[in-house]
């Protein structure tokens, strides 16, 4: 946010990468890519690339974090050093700690945590290539990894950001639009009920623009959820073939 782009970001209704206002970047999701993990997922959203791994339900360490009535959910979002234009110092930053927290809050409503008391579910998310929308991609990937781990879920969580660029509300910002835009509004929701599990926003928007942005995100989340489900079904079929051989 903030800076000014030296070229217009939207020309005749088309964005710099040729998309219309409401068009998503091409994306693909693959489940089951880490053998050691209980569940895993690799996701590409345009140039943003994410890997998520789930370990658990497992023993809680340190023990004092254990909860008697539900599982302890731990989310670690991190950007690997070569995922950004300037090298990203390894280790948790204030930004990544905040994002880990909001991702945990976004996923928790969908997980049946009460089913796994006195255990820990560990979700690790690594951003391997960052081009805006890393937290939303992280949520999309983590959801698939959780289902892949066989953890009981109430619904999938699908996530996407809308934003405001040159006074227009647009969907799924990429790097330049994120850097030079007027607002960014990431959303996560459970498509079955339409309940929102993540909201963040920065920039400047009117209430009407926010309404428009949320409507766009709702539609996009339905599309994303379909691909998430397909990734799980594909992985399941894949395993079935292997087991039969």
């Amino acid at each position: 946010m903030g800076g000014k782009s030296d070229k217009p970001l939207i020309v005749k209704g088309k964005r710099l990468d040729g998309r219309t206002a409401e068009e998503l970047r091409p994306f693909k999701i693959k489940a089951g890519i880490i053998k050691q993990a209980d569940g895993s997922c690799e996701l590409e959203f345009g140039e943003t690339k994410v890997i998520a791994g789930v370990y658990g339900p497992k023993k809680v360490l340190p023990k004092h974090l254990e909860e008697n009535t539900r599982a302890f959910l731990k989310v670690t979002y991190s950007m690997i050093p070569f995922s950004t234009s300037e090298r990203n110092r390894p280790g948790p930053s204030r930004r990544s700690k905040e994002i880990s927290k909001v991702i945990k809050d976004a996923l928790a409503p969908a997980i049946n945590l009460e089913k796994y008391p006195q255990t820990c579910i560990d979700i690790h998310i690594e951003i391997t290539n960052a081009n805006a929308g890393t937290r939303t991609s992280a949520i999309n990937a983590a959801t698939v990894a959780l289902i892949d781990a066989g953890i009981e879920m109430r619904d999938v969580v699908a996530s996407i950001a809308a934003g405001k660029v040159e006074d227009q509300v647009i969907l799924d910002l990429f790097q330049d639009e994120d850097n030079f835009g007027q607002a960014d509004l990431p959303i996560a929701m459970m498509p079955r009920t339409g309940e929102i599990t993540l909201v963040q926003m920065d920039g400047d928007m009117t209430a009407a623009e926010i309404k428009k942005a949320i409507d766009m995100c709702e539609k996009a989340c339905l599309k994303i959820a379909k691909v998430q489900r397909k990734a799980i079904i594909d992985e399941y079929k894949n395993n079935e073939v292997k087991n039969n051989e």
């Binding site: 905040e98 927290k101 909001v102 009920t193 599990t197 963040q200 926003m201 009117t206 949320i214």
Partner: protein, 262 residues
């Protein structure tokens, strides 16, 4: 608090909220009484001590000089930090900043930064070499809930109270002992309304006991024009899009009264 006590508290508060009343007699969209004192600490460039019911927050501004970031060689910098010191609640522990304290500082920072509150282009001393750096520290002294809304009021009050230190052109040093009459270049007054949701009931300005058991919260930063400059959802519950639009409308109404405290 153990699980049993927690669920008893939740039942109790939720029953009250269904009758549109709170434990302390407030209606769902009433704020507790706010009081603001400024200019109370002589070492700080600007300071404020703010109360919201029993919640109390101290905010201080320090202004120094330093090298600008490469992407804004002529822009001053702003940094908002908060620390949840164990003095304010037995839920806080000393040590490295917890996710909750990082979230608090970053959400307050976002509301100030994204609304363009401070015109950083006016904080240049020598382009590419030296700019003013503004540090805002928010220290809760007593946490009885809703640190987001009152933390932003404290930060804004301290920023508005701040005076620039003297800069000696010859020695190129900042003289921290002498404050000028110049204020910071402030052109916006963002305030924040944080809503809680408990068993489907929405309310504003939660107490510590309400925060312990509520399902989710949404903080909404509002500018003078009534636009939205920051939002953050928290808690492991959900909200619907229509609830969210209602909260935005309510925040726009409530922001006018909140801003009177600045």
């Amino acid at each position: 608090m153990n699980n049993k006590e927690n669920s008893n508290l939740k039942d109790y508060l939720s029953k009250l909220l269904k009758k549109k009343i709170r434990e302390d007699g407030r209606k769902p969209f009433d704020y507790r009484k706010i009081s603001v004192e400024t200019g109370i600490l002589s070492q700080a460039n600007g300071s404020a001590r703010v109360k919201l019911g029993d919640t109390e927050v101290l905010a201080g501004v320090k202004i120094g000089a330093g090298t600008p970031y490469p992407d804004g060689p002529a822009d001053g910098t702003l940094m908002v930090n908060s620390e949840l010191s164990p003095i304010a609640s037995d839920r806080f522990e000393s040590g490295p900043p917890s996710p909750a304290s990082i979230e608090l500082s970053r959400v307050i920072d976002r509301a100030i930064r994204e609304s363009g509150t401070i015109d950083v282009s006016k904080l240049c001393i020598k382009s590419g070499e030296k700019v003013w750096m503004v540090f805002v520290d928010v220290y809760p002294i007593n946490d009885d809930g809703n640190l987001f809304d009152i933390g932003l009021i404290a930060a804004m009050a301290a920023l508005k109270n701040a005076r620039m230190p003297k800069y000696d052109e010859k020695t190129e040093q900042v003289n921290h002992r002498e404050l000028t009459k110049d204020k910071l270049p402030i052109n916006e007054e963002p305030v924040m309304c944080t809503f809680g949701k408990l068993d489907g009931e929405i309310f504003v300005d939660s107490t510590e006991r309400e925060e312990l058991v509520m399902d989710s919260r949404l903080s909404i930063g509002i500018t003078k024009k009534g636009n939205i400059c920051a939002m953050q959802k928290g808690g492991e519950g959900t909200i619907t899009s229509s609830e969210m639009m209602d909260m935005i409308k309510k925040a726009q109404e409530l922001s006018k009264d909140l801003r009177k405290n600045l």
